[in-house]
Amino acid sequence: MIHLDKLTFGYSKHKKLFENLSMTLAPGHIYGLLGKNGAGKSSLLRNMAGLLYPLEGKIEVNGYEPKKRQPGFLQDVFFIPEEIYLPPFNISKYLSVLSPFYPKFDTEQFQQFIREFEIPKDNKLTDMSYGQKKKVLISFALAANTRVLIMDEPTNGLDIPSKSQFRKIVSSVLDPDRIILISTHQVRDLDSLIDHIIILENSEILVQHSMDTVSEKLYFGTLVNDEDNLRALYSEPSLRGFKAVTENTEQLDSRVDLEYLFNAAIKNPVRIKEIFNS
């Protein structure tokens, strides 16, 4: 469980990145955190991982206060930053030195992920490409079986086949005790992976709902004429009219398009809030 209570953070007391953020993330879900560049996604994740300290408010992760960086907290939370570091040795050495820190580490699972990602086993980690390094770290993080897994832009540097491998593997490791939180600006990479979405904008959380709620409240489809388009929360011209997001007043079924949802939330924040609060 991750619980934020009136969290305020900024790199100086006068310039706050977010203020009074409150939310609860429950186990058994994969959360997607979206936001524009500079919205504070990475800072929020780092607060949760205990790498940055809040100015005000409280964070609780698995019953621990992250800023204390206690071993019990660290061995049950794995954070993959955007810029990763791997030490200068090969995979087996890396495993032998670091896996003992994680009591639930599953070596066989790790080997399986490495095979699926097609990582050469004997190469030095520092000699690998950025994408390969990222895949090694993702494999390690998933095999560590921590109750909380936080990933900041995990698909950066991954090629197209690896991105779908990533989605497949991540969805396979979700269990009822585990929270997976993924931040990205490449929203397509989260398609059909996340079951909850969080949109951070202008120091506040605009949306924090399950994908089921999103598809219940909003309709993603094509509008044929300009008149219909007036009620769109966000639209883009397409071959057959306008591809748009509208309020789902008629309870129609549609597939959530994360990119359109994000754009709608950024363009019409007040309306979006009203819709979700109704």
Binding site: R46, Y53, I84, F89, K93
Partner: protein, 267 residues
């Protein structure tokens, strides 16, 4: 689970530290221990008195022990200098105390080893060199004890300062720490001399940790000649030991600040 200290976790952290940085440790140690041999061994190998032999021994103190120790110590928290390595190091599941102790143990081992090796080699090579020299000729002298004590004080404080500098400064930690230490050293001497000159009507060389050297006017012979007496003021033995304890207290203080800095480090 003990959240503050666990021996098994500490052992794994030490192992990780050596696997990651062991090569650098070996290279630095090898370089400075090699230099120590190059400077100290010539006195032991020659059948003739080498006038520069004693100078080499004196030079080894600042050039190898002080410089080597500080270079080594200033790398103790190098993994926390960049965000990517810092995040990886911070998130390793060990307590802050265990991570701090890992660096402390490594730095203490090397510092004590280097100083111990210097002392052992110094006495051994001087003795061996003297045994090869003719009975009635010049003999090598050990470095005087007060000078060794004085050096030990400087060594203890500087090692503590470089240890703190390695976690305090993200860039150029060695140069910044060395600069601050040098300025502090000069300022302390200037301030100390100024204060003592106001206390006593004499010229006093009051370098910290060592007995004062006083040069006082005793008579003035007209018209211009001035007679001065030079003498050394030794502190009572107890006071001198207390003065020697001061660097240890400073070092403990520097360790504590390093610990707090590690605890507060954000990425």
């Amino acid at each position: 689970m003990n959240q503050t200290f666990d021996l098994q976790r500490f052992t794994i952290l030490l192992k990780l530290n050596f696997v990651e940085k062991g090569r650098n440790y070996m290279l630095t140690s090898g370089l400075f221990i090699g230099l120590l041999f190059i400077l100290l061994v010539p006195t032991a190998l020659s059948d003739e008195f080498l006038p520069y032999g004693a100078v080499l021994h004196f030079m080894a103190l600042p050039l190898v022990v002080l410089l080597g120790g500080s270079v080594f110590t200033s790398s103790m928290f190098s993994q926390y200098t960049s965000p990517s390595t810092g995040i990886a190091a911070t998130l390793v599941p060990g307590s802050i105390l265990e991570k701090f102790l890992t660096a402390l143990v490594v730095y203490l081992c090397f510092s004590v080893l280097l100083l111990g090796m210097f002392l052992a080699l110094h006495y051994f090579t001087i003795d061996l060199g003297n045994s090869r020299l003719p009975e009635n000729g010049n003999k090598y002298q050990y470095i005087p004890k007060p000078m060794l004590w004085y050096f030990a004080c400087i060594y203890i404080i500087s090692q503590g300062a470089f240890f703190l500098g390695s976690i305090y400064f993200s860039k150029f930690s060695y140069l910044k720490t060395a600069g601050i230490l040098f300025l502090t050293f000069v300022l302390t001497i200037v301030l100390s001399s100024w204060l003592t000159s106001r206390l006593v009507d004499a010229s006093v060389n009051s370098v910290p940790f060592v007995p004062w050297q006083v040069s006082a006017a005793i008579t003035k012979v007209p018209p211009i000649k001035l007679l001065r007496a030079r003498y050394i003021v030794y502190f009572p033995e107890m006071v001198q030991y207390m003065i020697y304890a001061l660097p240890v207290l400073v070092m403990l203080g520097l360790w504590y600040i390093s610990f707090l800095r590690l605890k507060e480090k954000e990425f």
